[in-house]
Symmetry: C2
Subunit: 319 residues, 2 copies
């Protein structure tokens, strides 16, 4: 039997930059509002089509994001980019829409244990709480996307059964949510699982748009992204300089770095609409500005398309 010699992948992907939400919330030292705004504007220059700009949580829960409204208001000139914000409840959704947000993101956990830690209620209760947010969004004419944290594995419960994800996606669909970000919040997923879960979900819910939100805790984020590509997934979340790490998750490390994901896609001939050198430049700048220990392979080694000068002993081949 002859081996297949082509790996069929999508030709284009859309990356959503999530550092201003998932990255900043993990930074302990206060990032001044004007720095946050400056960073968002730098990120916008990378050519991203979508950006998760902040979270309208209660200021006491995540003080770092208490200036959410100011940041959003100051970024209303970024008309080429879809700005989305996380909202945990109706009050947060109202604040977000008032500030100018056109796309809300809902977040719940795949397991009850994680849901209790994160939202103080089990998954089903959390999801029921989304109904008034979805109604508000409809009334005010803004979009809503859903998400599922620890979708591929929970630090308390382990692997998440497919039926559990099925149930949650079905409920989102019934509410009219047509887009769900599947978050591998602690890097518990593996490529076989990602491939198979996505195959299952896409067969069950052919009209749902699934996005992959990957963390690199066990070094599997890029392999998982490739498995998702093989299932035709074209939407990915990532954070510049690998920022991030959920405050409620033991052992969580950064999101997959935007520059590493862009490098991977470009190396495989997949277009992102972004320029890798620009992205690496922004990563360096952001790292400097917030002094975060975040890191990426691109920041360390650089792209492999950068050729090195041949050593002087190379005269033989120069002839």
């Amino acid at each position: 039997m002859s081996n297949s010699t082509e790996l069929v992948l999508p030709s284009n992907v859309i990356i959503c930059e999530v550092a201003p939400r998932d990255g900043f919330q993990a930074v302990k030292d206060w990032i001044p509002t004007e720095d946050k705004i400056a960073i968002v504007k730098k990120l916008a220059q990378m050519g991203v089509q979508s950006l998760e700009i902040t979270s309208f949580v209660h200021p006491k829960a995540i003080p770092q994001l208490k200036d959410a409204s100011e940041v959003v208001e100051a970024c209303q000139d970024l008309t080429d980019i879809k700005l989305r914000a996380l909202v945990p409840n109706v009050k947060g959704a109202e604040r977000a829409i008032d500030a100018g947000i056109k796309k809300l993101k809902l977040m719940l956990s795949a397991t009850d244990s994680h849901s209790i830690s994160n939202a103080n209620c089990v998954t089903e209760e959390a999801q029921n709480g989304f109904l008034p947010i979805v109604e508000l969004a409809e009334k005010r004419g803004v979009q809503v996307g859903g998400s599922i944290s620890v979708a591929f594995g929970c630090p308390y419960e382990g692997k998440v059964p497919q039926e559990r994800l099925d149930q949650i996606v079905k409920r989102y669909m019934e509410m009219g949510v047509a887009e769900i970000s599947l978050a591998d919040s602690t890097g518990a997923g593996n490529p076989k699982q990602v491939y198979e879960v996505l195959g299952y979900l896409r067969n069950r819910f052919p009209n749902m748009l699934f996005t992959m939100h990957l963390h690199n805790t066990r070094g599997l984020a890029i392999a998982n992204a490739v498995a998702a590509l093989q299932q035709g997934i074209t939407n990915f979340d990532s954070a510049i300089a690998g920022l991030g790490g959920c405050p409620y998750l033991p052992g969580a490390t950064g999101n997959v770095a935007t520059e590493d994901l862009v490098n991977t896609f470009h190396e495989m001939g997949i277009e992102t609409g972004m320029n890798l050198d620009t992205v690496i430049g922004v990563a360096k700048k952001v790292k400097e500005m917030i002094g975060h220990k975040g890191a990426s392979y691109m920041l360390q080694a650089g792209p492999c398309s950068t050729l090195h000068a041949k050593p002087k002993s190379q005269k033989k081949v120069e002839k």
Copy 2:
């Protein structure tokens, strides 16, 4: 059209631990011979079936490995493991066989520029130089495996054309070499390329055993390993604690860490014959012993199969 819901992968793999060669040669400070021997014996306890124990290069070229014969002689009791050693020439091969090595490994570079840097001659000359080694091996009754460095990309020349690899593999085959390790020495390969190159080579040379030797320079090593698995590859090189980095390669970082590869395989239900906790324990010990900055995801985050205790606020779900 329904999405495929199974990623078909091999059920077993064989890992060759290469830290005592590829790892040690990158360590500047002298590792005492008794420490080298102690580390090899620790590595043997992990359940590896194959181990690249040293390199019989000229002591002036890599002083760290000048005790190759002593190390090999002291490890002759490891009869359950296939010990292989790198040999650059007939003299090295003789020393290796005299010390008790039963499997020699040949190494050349896919590109002329890299070959000049590494072996002071172009690829074809280097390969012609292997003939007397292969003849010696046959006479003395030991096995020979080949390898191709920078097989997926060269820091001086960039991507390596398939025809070039074809030529080198063909020549190895004509010499009677039946096993070739394809080394992505600077992490220049990507999963699409790895999948397609392996598909091509396996169709062209169905009787050749191909091994993947991956470095994680751009964070793609594990994704590349998965692409190789998808082509039915079952032999992988890796180094404990991610040690390694070729002294002749600009920007090269460590080999993919054995513990990260074992975790990946086990998570996908692929057997390695090794116990992950034991492997992580050995990685910690080796890192301590040689004070190397080498690192891995498993050393930092641990396996995701280790569940965390639920926070005390979890009473709701406990009921």
